[in-house]
Symmetry: C2
Subunit: 372 residues, 2 copies
DNA sequence: TTGTATGCGTTATCAA
DNA sequence: TTGATAACGCATACAA
């Protein structure tokens, strides 16, 4: 192997070394059957010897296709988005596609720049995960049959129709939220609150589904708390607000918030699940080993990433974008919601124990945003 | 805004629409001061009106530079790598660089394909995170002054010299491990074990530092457990092995393993920290809100990502790769290691309580790989 | 201040 | 079975 072929070798040089034309060199390396065995072998060897690496830019320019996919997500450091990204990258790599990632941090300006970037790079397909842009905006830069919206979060989309102008992947937020409520009711909880995050479509969908399911039930007073988009960063602050008027159980927008809130409640001297039950959403890996382990709705994050690739590649190679999909979710019942009667009080676990407040909570009029 | 300019507009068309040549169009959009104000404005408008988006491939081909960086990491779904990726992407975007990510999953074949991919795309710089390839191999495909190795994990690198052939970023594993040991000794722990992961350089470095610090101390018998590279996936299995011969405290290779192990120990009826103290490594976000909260070594993951970009961009724009760096780490003491005497036994917290076994543990002869 | 011509590295068309 | 040629879209050297 040569030490470090840094003046990049071109196909032409390889061809010359093999004593053929550039065209023949190209065909030989592409495995074109019209090229004779010996010639092919000579070219291969020359390429190997010279350390030839094809130039993707030149190839893309000529072929008018890049075999590149763009992925816009919120934050690579977020467990859910990390899983989606991992699924996406793996599926793309398996099909020979390169992936360009951009994190948008829920910032419209960054999301727009990401679209611009994808357009400049002529990505063959684009997936937008939890984008807060109006999907119509994406279509000004990306052709509609090469876009997949996953868990679209533009507030206007809370209505939840799947008649989007582009491909769409969702997990069934409403079903997951409903299943959580039913589980809690079955377990005997009656006062149930929802702890929301930012002003996104998925928060609105989950919150509304929770509140609707509660209204349709025998549940007693309930309430929605708004933790704000970054509530999970300060579980204690959220816990303090909630502890002033504690329901029997809390359904959190997602696991991140639920885990932070559990910690905050513990810091307030409250014990989960003895003093309050908690359920999350997503089933991130650490939900399975928290203490107590977290009841949550398993949303197939990695599969969403893989599916986005399958849909895009289907469109690229098949010419048509496959139909939109709503993925099923599954409730995973763990220790954090055993039911209000199921705790063995002979084995106290908490520190400072404050008696459960049983307050009358007013029913909720919910403003978009998770307000109280 | 036009509905969807999908037959991509070229610079030539924009120029024609503006009544100038392609060259003038190019210069106008590039803000070349030689172009008169009115002309520039006409070109800009034409570009806007036609929905012109420059073609990155053509530009790269012509400029012989791509403004693209490659990032190879182990797994996008891993919290530490997610943080590094997030820092990397953010820093790159801020400087106008596009990022291509590849996850290598500790698989040499995938890592090699990633290098090949970066080479084909003519990335201006490449960062390899926790790569298990021999660094020399990278240099056959990437020029050495455009590579940064972050937390290199090729087994041969355990020796820890920083005289690598390429740029290198490390956090100070040995210092972190040593600080953890000192903290545990100060807290009163005497029987301390190390729970290792795979056969990587960083595992070897941490393990050796722990064992060395123990040997140099008044600590009593100690032991190293090998959880294997994927031990954190089955905390219970690891816990069972360790529970048979439980030290007073365990230092884990990383937080993922520590959190899984805490859960496994709890499933075995053991209580952390009453029955055993636990320390992790990395300070991933959930280490701060586990129950008990995890003592750990804060390693600046996002900063590693940002620094990698700074070094590469320094090389690209300054011509020379900045010197290698060892980043300091910081011990974060939390609830999981209060010291063996500091638990209030009047407030039992565990379920089934097995009395601490106080066995004589043999000193460890450690094989590379986390021995025994 | 602007235009003309050229080439970046590939692949595809056409001809031999 | 192979070669000559052109073109993908852009930016620059040189000319005007």
């Amino acid at each position: 192997m040569p030490p470090a072929p840094h003046r990049r070798v071109t196909l032409g040089e390889v061809a010359r070394a093999a004593g053929v034309s550039a065209a023949t060199g190209s065909r030989a390396l592409a495995g074109d059957p019209r090229i004779s065995g010996p010639t092919r072998e000579r070219v291969r060897r020359a390429a190997e010897r010279l350390g030839y690496v094809p130039n993707a830019a030149a190839r893309s320019l000529r072929r008018q296709a890049t075999r590149t996919l763009g992925l816009l997500l919120v934050d690579l450091a977020d467990p859910v988005h990390g899983l989606i990204a991992a699924g996406f990258e793996e599926a793309a790599a398996a099909r020979g596609f390169t992936v360009i990632f951009v994190a948008g941090f829920n910032d419209p300006a960054r999301e727009r720049r990401a679209l611009q970037l994808f357009a400049e790079h002529r990505t063959d397909g684009v997936a937008l995960v939890s984008s807060i842009l109006d999907p119509a905006e994406a279509l000004t830069l990306i052709r509609s049959d090469r876009v997949v919206l996953a868990q679209a979060d533009h507030p206007s989309l809370a209505g939840y129709g799947n008649d989007r102008p582009v491909g769409s992947i969702r997990s069934d937020d409403a079903a997951g939220a409903g299943a959580t409520v039913r589980h809690l009711l079955d377990a005997g909880y009656r006062e149930i609150g929802y702890v929301g995050a930012g002003p996104t479509a998925s928060n609105a969908t989950r919150r509304d589904a929770v509140l609707r399911a509660l209204r349709d039930s025998a549940a007693r007073p309930r309430r929605a708390f708004a933790a704000g988009r970054d509530g999970w960063r300060d579980g204690l602050a959220v816990a303090r607000r909630i502890a002033r008027d504690l329901p029997e159980a809390l359904i959190c927008y997602d696991d991140k918030l639920a885990l932070a809130l559990m910690d905050g409640l513990r810091a307030c001297g409250l014990d989960v699940p003895r003093d309050v039950g908690i359920a999350g959403y997503d089933d991130i890996p650490f939900a399975a080993c928290s203490n107590p382990r977290l009841t949550t709705v398993a949303s197939p994050s990695a599969e969403i990433g893989r599916l986005a690739v399958r849909m895009l590649v289907g469109a690229i190679e098949g010419g048509e974008l496959p139909p939109s999909v709503v993925l099923p979710v599954e409730l995973v019942v763990r220790e954090s919601t055993p039911g209000p009667g199921s705790i063995d009080y002979t084995q106290p676990r908490g520190g400072e124990v404050s008696p459960r407040r049983v307050t009358s909570l007013e029913p909720v009029g919910v403003a978009p945003g998770g307000g109280r």
